[in-house]
Amino acid sequence: MGNKQTIFTDEQFEAYQDCTFFTRKEILQLHGRFHELAPHLVPLDYTNQPDVRLPLALIVSMPELKENPFRHRIVEVFSEDGQGNMSFNDFVDMFSALCETAPRELKTIYAFKIYDFNVDNFLCKEDLEKTLNRLTKGELTPEEVNLVCSKAMEEADLDGDSKLSFSDFENMISKAPDFLSTFHLRI
């Protein structure tokens, strides 16, 4: 794969280490994975910061994301144009925000964005139903879906406007014990 030193300059490594939760070795690993997705498009040498974006379809075919029911939303949220076309910076960002050492607040913000399907900064009932359907792939009956969503809304909605704002979501997630252990990607 070539001499490690020529993929990124030292300055770039510093910047990456400051802006993400990764070490040098992990950043190189990530670059390797990014390159694997499209060897003809992604250059090995990133010293002059080429602007290469990979489409959504390629990114969601990664083994880490392949089985995830929210993979499209994740890639859309972290891509700069909102359509799912990721540059390497976006790619590193995604894994950094979802890594084990990322703090809870950061993950909560991104979780909110991921679950907000209609991007209106609220989690309304339709968002919840879509989330539930993605999770169970339509195995629940519509009444059951409705019941579960209304119960969840009841639990989390504090200001009574029948949708979850970010503060409702944050409060609810702080009481959800599994969040930190499940909401992370391993590279």
Binding site: D18, V148, A152, S167, M172
Partner: protein
């Protein structure tokens, strides 16, 4: 113009009101925004942007908005750049900005910042190196990917126990065995305990003489008797009183006793520390909800799963959980609707079944007692190889059988008791835990009954010196046998039950195979198995100092056995075990085991007279006596201090202070809960206020716009009118619109 969209906004009470963007609560969040062409400073927001906006640009740089930006910037300055929810390019810009600002600071703070950065970098590299050394990291990663975090917690629990046992072994080795081993090399003079012609101190040698048949060696190895009895393995070998090194004297009995107490304390502290995080989280959770729906929807999917069959299983287990929760709700409703007659009936049934459970437990304990007595008597006479082994292992066999049958009985009975599903699981588990751990205690009680009962009624030496010249070694041997048998059973079940089951289910097409189904990795039963082993280790280490080493090796091998059987034979349980609650459960059961283990050890040390033919405590009546004797030889100051600490006055005052502290903390917790409830109600009220005000505002703006367009002064008046809105803060009370008659 864009801002007119608010005026002409004819969606009544629409959820999307651009005014909401100006609210301070939204401004305190940073959202990703579309990178504008003109650079980073101009903030352009539009309600139509896909990614949402947090801008105040539409309304210009209002003073309050600017204030919030400042506060925001200072807030973000305190957080490291990597924790900001911004895209990479902006984080870099932020970092450069901060570096620029940092240049304005004095050289001292610059130096401090750069050292902080290098230290942090070093710490990260150090952690990375340490985590590479972590035991079984790769294996656990694979398991997590295939089976999720529930089963992962079992394996990390196993790893924790390996480490704990290894540390216990190091303690014992370092303080008890190492001095004895190095004494001749370090020119130390070992004084052994006197063995005078007193009848209690007669200890016949147990090593076999003459021509020894090979299978007798195997019997000795498996039962700890024969050639193993007079080795470092058992208590009886440590007949040392003091070791005189050139510089100091080493009091071995004291060291032996203190190491025992030390390892029990160390285990307690380590377990409590490990369970602290889980316990805190459990307290934060709402008490009246078992597992909330929100937790399942938003934190239910395990993002680590990469395997497609594991994903399918996770989906079906989530489905199962949701259906179970809905069922719970239905049952809760049913319970609330029960009539009095039904309640009476249920309570009577529960009483009868609980009595039945107690009867079953009593029967098991009695059979263990009988088996132990029989085994002890039968060990006196040797018949032949196989029968001897069976008699030796009779208590272990009975305990294992009881532990196999009773969970089946319990899970059958609980169905008739009509509890909610969640409570059923917990209650069955509690019963199984009780059964497993108490069976060891019954074994020990029956053993001690044997040891302290003599033919003449009152024992001369305090114990039965004819049958048990060195009773501690005998207890150590029983613990050793329990441990070996436990290990053999785990291995045998894996090889002779689980692998054939997989083969039968895969290749045989009969109905029986289909009904039996593939093996499930039942986490609770597996956890109970290893907690049982660990309890034996804690009890037995005093009598068999090398037991932690054996335990370490045993758990090491069990890790690989379980991993192999998991990967090859098992499918994940349909009734999933959540990682969060499971960590707490494992450590709680382990604590119960530790508490239960402390009781026999304490009684053995303090109550029963130690044997006078072997071991370090020959010159003392009980093992504990070495401590008062040492204290009486200390210098006066230390002696008075220690006596003061152990006096009743100190104990009572400590107790009173602890009670006061506990009451204070309980009162504090109650007060906090009340405050939380008040705040929650206030939040609800504030939310309603907010919506009410926004609706009023929209109405007022609409009437104002209609009036201004209706009076003919279109853009002019709206220009006049809107600045008054623009120059004030985001949400504010509506000013009465200027009278159209007076407005020019």
């Amino acid at each position: 113009m864009e801002r007119d969209s608010v005026f002409h906004n004819d969606r009544l009470g629409a959820p999307r009101n651009p005014l909401l963007d100006e609210l301070p609560s939204y401004q305190s969040l940073l959202y990703r925004r579309k990178p504008s062409a003109s650079g980073s400073t101009k903030r352009r927001g539009s309600s139509r942007t896909r990614l949402g906006s947090s801008s105040s640009g539409k309304w210009g740089q209002t003073t309050v908005a600017r204030q919030y930006e400042e506060k925001h910037r200072t807030q973000t300055l305190q957080r490291p750049v990597r924790e900001l929810p911004k895209p990479m390019a902006e984080k870099r810009r932020d970092k450069d900005q901060r570096l620029e600002q940092a240049k304005d600071l004095s050289s001292w703070s610059q130096w401090r910042q750069s050292t902080r950065r290098t230290l942090r970098r070093l710490k990260e590299d150090g952690f990375e190196m340490l985590s590479n050394l972590e035991l079984w990291r790769g294996d656990i990663h694979v398991i997590e990917g295939m089976f999720g975090t529930g089963i992962l917690s079992y394996f990390s629990f196993l790893r924790f126990l390996v480490l704990l046992n290894f540390v216990m072994f190091l303690l014992m080795f370092g303080f008890v065995m190492l001095p004895i081993i190095t004494a001749p090399h370090a020119s130390g003079n070992t004084t052994f305990n006197h063995v005078d012609g007193f009848e209690c101190s007669n200890y016949p040698s147990t090593s076999r003489r003459g021509l020894v048949v090979f299978h007798q060696h195997i019997t000795d190895l498996l039962s700890g008797a024969g050639f193993l009895e007079q080795t470092y393995l058992f208590y009886g070998y440590y007949k040392v009183e003091t070791i005189h090194f050139p510089k100091f004297t080493y009091n071995l009995p004291l060291a032996y006793l203190l190491v025992t107490i030390a390892y029990l304390f160390l285990s307690l502290i380590w377990i409590v520390k490990r369970s602290a995080t889980g316990f805190k989280r459990k307290l934060v959770q709402d008490e009246d909800r078992f597992q909330s729906f929100c937790n399942k929807i938003f934190a239910g999917w395990d993002f680590c799963i990469v395997n497609d069959s594991a994903a399918r299983l996770k989906r079906s287990s989530l489905l199962y959980e949701l259906k179970t929760d809905l069922e719970e709700e239905r049952i809760k409703q049913k319970i609330a609707d029960r009539t009095r007659k039904e309640k009476c009936r249920i309570y009577v049934i529960r009483l009868i079944l609980n009595l039945f459970v107690i009867a079953v437990l009593a029967a098991c304990f009695y059979s263990i007692y009988i088996a132990t007595n029989f085994s002890q008597k039968a060990q006196m006479t040797k018949v032949n190889f196989i029968l001897d082994l069976i008699y030796e292992y009779l208590p272990s066999i009975v305990i294992t059988l009881a532990n196999f049958i009773t969970p089946l009985i319990f899970s059958l009975i609980i169905q008739f008791e009509d509890y909610s599903p969640a409570f059923e699981i917990r209650f069955t588990l509690m019963r199984c835990v009780f059964m497993r751990l108490t069976s060891i205690c019954v074994l020990l009680v029956s053993l001690w009954g044997q040891i302290t009962s003599c033919q003449e009624g009152n024992c001369v030496c305090g114990y039965n010196h004819i049958l048990y010249p060195c009773w501690e070694s005998r207890v150590g041997q029983e613990m050793y046998k329990l441990m070996i048998f436990d290990f053999l059973i785990i291995g045998a079940v894996t090889v002779f039950v689980e692998f054939p089951r997989k083969l039968i289910v895969d290749y045989c097409d009969c109905g029986l195979a289909k009904w039996w189904g593939q093996q499930e990795f039942a986490i609770p039963q597996n956890v109970l198995e290893i907690v049982y082993g660990q309890t034996i280790c804690w009890i037995g280490t005093f009598y068999c100092p090398l037991l932690p080493a054996i335990c370490t090796i045993k758990y090491f091998i069990i890790f690989y056995i379980k991993k192999v059987t998991l990967v090859n034979n098992c499918r994940p349980a349909t009734r999933p075990f959540r990682a969060s609650s499971s960590n707490f459960f494992f450590l709680a059961v382990l604590l119960i085991g530790l508490a239960l283990a402390c009781v026999p050890v304490t009684i053995g040390i303090a109550q029963i007279s130690c044997s006078q033919a072997c071991g370090p405590f020959i010159n003392y009546t009980t093992s504990w006596e070495v401590v008062p004797r040492t204290v009486s030889q200390l210098p006066a100051g230390a002696r008075t201090f220690l006596l003061a600490i152990s006096s009743e006055a100190f104990a009572v005052s400590l107790f009173v202070i602890t009670c006061l502290a506990m009451f204070y903390v309980i009162a504090l917790a109650g007060a906090h809960k009340r405050v939380i409830n008040q705040l929650r109600e206030q939040l609800v009220m504030d939310g309603r206020d907010k919506r009410f005000l926004i609706q009023k505002l929209c109405q007022a703006q609409r009437t104002c716009a209609i009036r201004s367009t209706g009076s003919g002064f279109q853009s002019h008046s709206s220009d006049r009118v809107s600045p008054s809105y623009r120059s004030n803060s985001g949400v504010f009370l509506v000013q009465p619109p200027p009278d159209s008659a007076t407005h020019v």
